[in-house]
Amino acid sequence: MSKKLLLNKAHVEGIRHFDVYRREGGYASIEKALKMQPADIVEEVKKSGLRGRGGAGFPTGMKWSFLAKPEGVPRYLVVNADESEPGTFKDRYLMEFIPHLLIEGMIVASFALGSNNSYIYIRGEYDWVADILEEAIKEAHQNGWLGKNIQGSGFDCNIFVQRGAGAYICGEETALLESLEGKRGNPRIKPPFPAVKGLWGCPTVVNNVETIAAVVPIINEGGDEYAKIGIGRSTGTKLISACGNINKPGVYEIDMTISVEEFIFSDEYCGGIPNGKRLKACIPGGSSVPIVPANLLLTTAKGEKRLMNYESLSDGGFATGTMMGSGGFIVLDEDQCIVKHTYTLARFYRHESCGQCSPCREGTGWMEKILQKIETGKGEMKDIDLLWDIQRRIEGNTICPLGDAAAWPVAAAIRHFRDEFEWHVKNPEKCLTQNYGLANYADPIQVAG
């Protein structure tokens, strides 16, 4: 059983309410932080090696230290709770069950960054979660942890919850800021980065929910202690939302030393594949990271065991590896059709493209149409090469990472499962009623066992 830092109290009865949360040791990090210098808190976060949990994995301490601090200009902390990546639901779990952990982390981070007004931008579909957060903020206000002069420290802080209108693109930090300002959620062109010119033109830090929540144990236990958990540059614990063809879907807090194999097959975590089926492929970090077949998921190209952390999952680059991403762990068994799966994702990205820049706007729709053609048995061999060409011309040529996120799943599916695409083309009638199955991607464990 690995150490839990975020969800260790999640199952205490009534933890959603302030009284219970405080009794269980909550809000202690604020008491400690308010006695520190803001710069020391940033230093502590730097020492912890915490990396952004939203998907990109950028070191949080570094991001905080980039924040411009011009005189007389307010600074803002914005928490990105627009968790819209298919397969990712870790932030919802955290906010729903222990909302005060996020509030606590936000107050500490606001103090460290000098933000007197901080925002939670939450996706519109999480309506009930937004209510829970607003209730928690009210309780924190009533108990003197928010508002003017928090605990007599002279620091003022308010937190506001803003509901989004249900657009995936508003999870991109600059689109989120546009939306928060009341405008159309189009990503901004960077530079300037939000750390210099963010919300209402002021320096802003945008962080994921889990990142901010992780600040609480960092302050409580110290950055060095936090850095001891995990391995290499993947420090601390990570929430993984597992779903797909597994026995026990749900949110798991792991330290990043366990192997992918253990995570999928051990009873402590996913509990294996149901109905005696075999593992075919997996998307380990939310829909936009490259899909990998079972053999490359469990071991790296070098033959080492792949671990659940940033470095190990991305080992081998996109040729043989994938990414940690946001931790949306989607498992596919032998009955799943990769072409249909890729088509579903392409449809999602086509629907969610903001339409601002041309490669993403036109390219996502084109890819969707070609994938639909192949999936419905009308595909031709040239379509597969065409798909590859389209994704290549989208990737890297767009304003925001949505273009890349739309291109990667298609690229990875063709890279690793090209014969399945070709089988669809060659068997236009069979592919409507049958699946390609495992072919040569059989996972080594089950074959041996």
């Binding site: 693109i169 159309r184 062109i189 969610e352 903001c354 820049c357 041309s358 706007r361 011309r393 040529n397």
Partner: protein
């Protein structure tokens, strides 16, 4: 130590130019001019915040600056990337840029109806120029294109959304030049469209400038629609004493004979509205739509056109004749009358040679 001039040096396609700090790569490239300048479909130097969207101006930055000479990992939008001292940019000399640009052209034309033969913009269309210069001859798209109904936005402007490439220029005009914004983008992705608020008409003295900034034929002048082809009309610079506040009164009249077919703002070599005394020369709707008599204008002279599009037909300042002759292309065969069907068919071969008949040929000239 501070140098006397605070100009910074940037090298684009091996040509070095000195520019002020804060200049973008595209502006620096325009100072050099010619082939080095990346095309721009959405960027408009007179509209704040424009650019970055169409991705046609992508360039490769081979060295970020003298201080940090690392190359930038991705191609960057030159219209929104500021130059640094010692920056090295590759546009036409880059290996990646032409491919990426051809890709962008293909994407832009994916849902474009290519109805140039019936489009009023044909001949002065930036997308047409872009397609000729950077596109491929064919398309690999085999699905139906998105379509919209034509709508009138206001009494003077028609929106033909099928042709729109979503450059957002017109929304910036609505934002920055007209005093009440009722024009924007609705929906998202490839079904996004520019539109007015519900059915509210664009009713503003300066709304006509949207037509001038539109790079394609999506927004057209209803007083000019289908009246004439731009290359048949003759542009002349003219001015009048306009009483509308904010209107510069300087325009280009497009004449055929003595008739004024349309009035537009004066444009520079990049297709943007010219500036006069530091102010952008937007014109009001009275000048544009309601002043179509030559007697209302003082004509200054023929407009200088330096753009390379069809619009400049017979109006080039420097004309480059094609190098190849028919003889050369035909491998030494002399040109002959292409339409002389009798030389190839043998049917209806007349007794006399057609050139000997000094009137239109008649059936009686042919063998019965």
């Amino acid at each position: 130590m501070e140098t006397v001039s605070n100009k910074i040096k940037v090298t684009i396609d091996n040509i070095t130019v000195e520019v002020d700090p804060g200049t973008t790569i595209l502006q620096a490239a325009r100072m050099i001019g010619g082939d080095v300048t990346p095309p721009a479909m959405c960027y408009y130097s007179k509209l704040q915040g424009s650019g970055g969207k169409c991705r046609t101006c992508l360039v490769e930055v081979a060295a970020g600056s003298a201080a940090d000479p690392r190359p930038m990992p991705k191609l960057v939008a030159s219209c929104r990337t500021g130059v640094m001292d010692g920056m090295v940019v590759k546009n036409i000399t880059s290996e990646k840029v032409p491919d990426a640009r051809a890709g962008v052209v293909e994407f832009l034309l994916l849902n474009h109806p290519l109805d140039c033969p019936i489009c009023d913009q044909a001949g002065e269309c930036h997308l047409q120029d872009l397609g000729y210069d950077h596109g491929k001859a064919g398309t690999r798209y085999e699905f139906s294109r998105r379509t919209f109904k034509r709508i009138d936005i206001g009494p003077y402007i028609q929106l033909h959304m099928n042709r729109c490439i979503l450059c957002y220029r017109c929304t910036y005009v609505a934002d920055q030049i007209t005093d009440s914004r009722s024009h924007g983008v609705i929906d998202r992705g490839d079904h996004a469209q520019i539109s007015t608020y519900i059915t509210k008409a664009i009713d503003n003295d300066f709304s006509g400038n949207m037509i001038d900034v539109c790079p394609v034929g999506a927004l057209t002048d209803k007083t000019f629609r289908f009246k004439n082809r731009v290359w048949f009309t003759k542009p002349v610079d003219a001015h009048r004493n306009c009483t509308t506040p904010g209107c510069c009164g300087k325009a280009t009249l497009w004449l055929r004979g003595d008739e004024v077919f349309r009035v537009t703002a004066r444009k520079d070599e990049w297709g943007e509205v010219q500036s006069f005394d530091g102010k952008t020369g937007w014109i009001c709707n009275t000048c544009r739509f309601e002043s179509k008599q030559t007697s209302q204008w003082t004509i200054e002279g023929v407009t200088t056109i330096s753009r390379h599009s069809v619009i400049g037909l017979n109006k080039y300042q420097t004309l480059n004749m094609p190098q190849e002759t028919v003889k050369k292309v035909m491998h030494g065969v002399e040109p002959k009358l292409l339409m002389d069907i009798h030389s190839v068919s043998g049917v209806n071969n007349p007794d006399i040679h057609l050139s000997e008949i000094d009137r239109p040929a008649h059936s009686s000239d042919f063998k019965k």
